[in-house]
């Protein structure tokens, strides 16, 4: 089983959307997070600790990536085999079936998987592309192309994210970052200073979405060999910190490489995709020279699971997300079909 998660919070309904496939069909599920998660420390009372399937639907093809469009009940997926984006309506109270409501067809079948990100404009839109020249912003309701990147390049995209309603970042798999604005087709390119070939790069953006000013944002670049660079969004040419993480290079699946900033805690980020663990680092302690930083916490649950003991290969974490409001809660999923919701404890600070 292969699971991809996307987490979202939808006014009152605290749910996550999960897609998984077992060969025949993909299932997309909207799961309500167990109420146990919301029980306070001393409250003690906790009625439920299971995920409730609130809505579910089927996808003919395996789902490669899954995002939620904020402010809507809409989810967009990409499949490994098709050249279209699928639009789904999660549904309301009257039915528990997730229905496909539309398709965004692409001009051509991409060689590699498509990366997607939700647009932050008032009209629901999705930013998508498999290589730089194909990156475009499409309005979901009408299929109208709102914006296209003017750059001709077949470099493959490994990450996309909007900083605010107009400004977005593209991460190329060779490590280059591009910053664009949907009001202007040109982009600013920020290639890596010394780019080593053969490495795959991913990025994580922390944006203070309430202020939507680029000045409060930090960007992390992570390579498949564990090389990490941190930037202030205002200066993507010189990192304010760079270091080498003590991880094993994962040569098989670069798609799982994932670096995320904690939304609540300051300067905390998490890394996964190298193996079956999720590492959490506090970047405040980092200095530019010096040894590999130690993680403040490592979640080994997926490696230690019951299933992992009996299978020949260890599971690899496919994706992870931070909870929007609980500072130390994360969700992670792995190739063995496991889904974990967990809190971490900083051994030094929290005791």
């Amino acid at each position: 089983t292969h699971i991809k998660i996307c987490i979202y919070f939808n006014s009152g309904i605290r749910g996550i959307c999960v897609a998984g496939y077992t060969g025949a069909k993909s299932e997309i599920l909207e799961l309500l997070l167990p109420l146990k998660l919301y029980a306070g420390e001393n409250q003690g009372l906790c009625a439920e600790r299971d995920f409730k399937v609130q809505h579910g639907g089927f996808s003919e093809e395996p789902v490669e990536s899954l995002i939620h469009i904020p402010g809507t009940r809409c989810v967009v997926t990409t499949g490994s085999s098709s050249s279209a984006l699928q639009i789904w309506d999660i549904g309301g109270d009257d039915s528990d079936v997730i229905k496909r409501t539309g398709v965004i067809n692409l001009k051509s079948t991409p060689a590699k998987g498509i990366t997607i990100a939700p647009g932050l404009t008032d009209e629901p839109a999705v930013l998508h592309g498999s290589c730089i020249s194909e990156v475009q912003l499409t309005e979901i309701a009408t299929g109208r192309v709102l914006y296209t990147v003017a750059k001709e390049s077949s470099d493959s995209v490994s990450g996309l994210q909007f900083v605010n309603a107009c400004v977005f970042l593209i991460c190329v798999s060779n490590g280059t970052l591009l910053m664009g604005d949907i009001r202007d087709p040109s982009t600013c390119d920020y290639p890596l200073q010394d780019s080593k070939s053969g490495l795959h790069w991913s990025f994580g953006l922390r944006s203070d979405s309430s202020q939507s000013e680029p000045s409060c944002c930090t960007v992390a670049r992570l390579s498949s060999s564990g090389h990490m660079l941190l930037y202030d969004l205002r200066d993507l040419q010189s990192p304010f910190c760079q270091t080498q993480l003590n991880v094993q290079q994962n040569t098989s699946k670069n798609d799982f490489l994932n670096v995320s900033w904690a939304p609540v805690l300051n300067r905390c980020l998490s890394v996964s995709g190298f193996d079956g663990t999720v590492h959490i680092y506090n970047t405040m302690d980092w200095s530019t020279e010096g040894q590999s930083p130690q993680p403040v916490f490592s979640h080994r649950g997926h490696e230690m699971s019951h299933e992992a003991k009996y299978s020949s290969s260890l599971p690899v974490v496919t994706t992870h997300f931070w909870h929007q409001s609980r500072p130390k809660t994360l969700l992670s999923a792995a190739t063995d079909g496991s889904l974990h919701v967990w809190d971490w404890v900083d051994k030094i600070i929290d005791r």
Binding site: A24, K25, E27, L29, L31, P34, G44, L45, C46, A47, E48, R49, D50, F51, K52, V53, H55, G56, G57, F58, S95, D96, V97, I98, H306, L339
Partner: protein
Amino acid sequence: MPDIKVTPLGAGQDVGRSCILVSIGGKNIMLDCGMHMGYNDDRRFPDFSYVTQNGRLTEFLDCVIISHFHLDHCGALPYMSEMVGYDGPIYMTHPTKAICPILLEDFRKITVDKKGETNFFTSQMIKDCMKKVVPLNLHQTVQVDEELEIKAYYAGHVLGAAMFQIKVGSESVVYTGDYNMTPDRHLGAAWIDKCRPDILISESTYATTIRDSKRCRERDFLKKVHETVERGGKVLIPVFALGRAQELCILLETFWERMNLKAPIYFSTGLTEKANHYYKLFITWTNQKIRKTFVQRNMFEFKHIKAFDRSYADNPGPMVVFATPGMLHAGQSLQIFKKWAGNEKNMLIMPGYCVQGTVGHKILNGQKKLEMEGRATVITGTLDVKLQVEYMSFSAHADAIGIMQLIRMAEPRNMLLVHGEAKKMEFLKDKIEQEVFVRCISCYMPANGETTTVVTNPSVPVDISLNLLKREMALGGPLPDAKRPRTMHGTLIMKDNSLRLVSPEQALKELGLSEHQLRFTCRVQLHDPHSDTDTLGRIYTHLKSVLKSYSIQHVPDGTVIVESIVIKVTSSAEEPNLKVILLSWSYQDEELGSFLSTLLKKGLPS
């Protein structure tokens, strides 16, 4: 159309008072007869007026089957058999038969003695009801009558719980009761063979959940208990005497042993000894691990768990107490709760589902102040709930994954879901209907009182006479394809209860009838400027060229014979060129005869 009808009288889109009526092959079966624990009035019983408006149920039911001893599956049994009236057989497994009366009596005592109810079944009624019980073993086919047979399968869930297959002829239904697809510490997992029932009636309590891992659940439970005991608090765990309590006992016992804990663990008296007695007695119902260790020591002989005495509740210091009943609706658990509720160091752990209306349910909904009433209570008035309340769901029910597993095992043609919150189960319905490797499945979710009719495709076995078989096989023609159906002619004789296929001649002989021969004649007019004899010759040549594989003879007496068809040509003296062709055939050659007449109407080639 042959069909099976299923009507839930309780547990249709609802949990509580399970009672399902099935009509199959002319037989009527009642599956379970439970009581809804949340109501105090008539709503707690299934509505038997669906069976008959007034009078006893005996002639309307061929049998009653009880899946396990939980009161929401057997609680209304004495009411049904003794107060409404039913004298037929009641089937259940041996452990269920042994334990049911105990729980029913306990329930009766609380309802009547403690609550003061009057219209309720008596102890004698329970005894009379149990006299009608016919116990059965797992995988043993029991003939209820000549046509109806039933068979029990292991269901896990609690001691003695079974899933039942009901079969009449080639139609069958499987009812799961409550079941569990993952083994636990003292019971194995449910199992069934590929019996391919027409309908699989399954419980769906957790159908729309993805359950947390059992290990996490247990670890949390132990952590809570340990914390409370370490700080000197008392832990109350309300349980039903028999059921999940045994699982928790084994869990705590193992933990206490491993951590070398000294705080006492008690199990409330009365039902304790009986409970353990039955678990020891029915040791074969438990899982492999328990049976293996049974030789050295009985798993249910606990070292750290002792019998409880009412006075212990006032003892200082930490302790853990398992007390009945499970939803805190009366009895000892409620008494202890009242004593311990005011101290925030204490903890209450509810290990199961609490039906609406019970104290357990109110507390789980966060009520901090409770109105206490009733006789012989320690505290009356308002009770402040200060102790910590935890809910751990340990009940063993199949979740969505488990239900799919059972479907793959049994391969039913149709699914019917009961015992769940069916407001929104369309997704599960779709999921079931899409199972690729099971033949086209439909999924139903009837509400109480709603009848689901499922059309079946039963096969009817018929004996064929040897003569007929030999004759049909001896017929010439191309080699038969084993997979393709072949038309044969025979006569079906239905006499008494047997069905036989014989040749028509034999049938006529047996029935003492003589055979009638039917011949058809037809006249075709044709213009042909030849003599009658020549015209006949021309017809012969024509037919020979068209009907190459048929036997055509030109007989000197002036006829052409095709198979059994006789053709003659005549004409009148006034119009010698207007020929009248007479065709005559017997009914077996009807098709060929029609063909020839149509052919000849078109005329002859020149």
